[in-house]
Symmetry: C2
């Protein structure tokens, strides 16, 4: 703590007030890590592609793999991660596992991202 305080710049006036107020407004650490972990899901192009596909239609694993030209193993590994984050779910239909978006926030988040990228 002493070492950190030494880093503080010597701004006059309401400096400490602002820093203190902002500190109290921060979410707790657990929430911050959860949030970062959530956005990590959108930070890989393979997962991004999978979610784009599922935004259009639910689909079995091998169709996703074929459509995207990515190996079945790679898709399966990524699906596992996406399921852990509760972004997609699946059900069995005979031999196939049908995947679909589990959360409408996926669309909103991607749309907000697109707005930034396309401007």
């Amino acid at each position: 703590m002493d070492e950190i305080n030494e880093l503080m710049c010597e701004e006059p006036g309401t400096h400490d007030d602002v820093v203190g107020a902002v500190r109290e407004s921060l979410p707790d650490d657990d929430t911050l890590y959860e949030l970062a972990d959530l956005f990590k899901m959108f930070g890989d192009s393979t997962r991004m592609k999978i979610m784009f596909v599922l935004m259009e239609s639910e689909m079995c694993v091998c169709d996703i793999a074929e459509l995207l030209g990515i190996s079945q193993s790679a898709i399966s590994h990524q699906l596992r991660i996406l399921k852990q984050s509760k972004l997609i779910s699946s059900r069995r239909e005979g031999k196939n596992i049908i995947c679909f978006l589990a959360d409408d926030h996926v669309r909103s988040i991607i749309d907000q991202g697109l707005s930034h990228v396309l401007e």
Copy 2:
């Protein structure tokens, strides 16, 4: 391409139609990579913290470092990355560099993420 087609499952009926339609609806590769790169910015807890702080108030570099208890060097490296993604900007004021959010989408994206995490 032959190898990929071998992976295709043998679903009957409208299978190929759906796959074809979805394929055409996908954004081009450049957009997809830009989008993934954008979300990568939100996928690290240090950058997440920086953006939360700047959502409350613009602030100089060393105050951000002090407030978050993270070394000035680490903050500076992350600020560089955030600036490259056009998520934050800065101006000089005497000895200090004042950082601030450069894009209102930051707030919307984080809010959508929070909705998912907090539900």
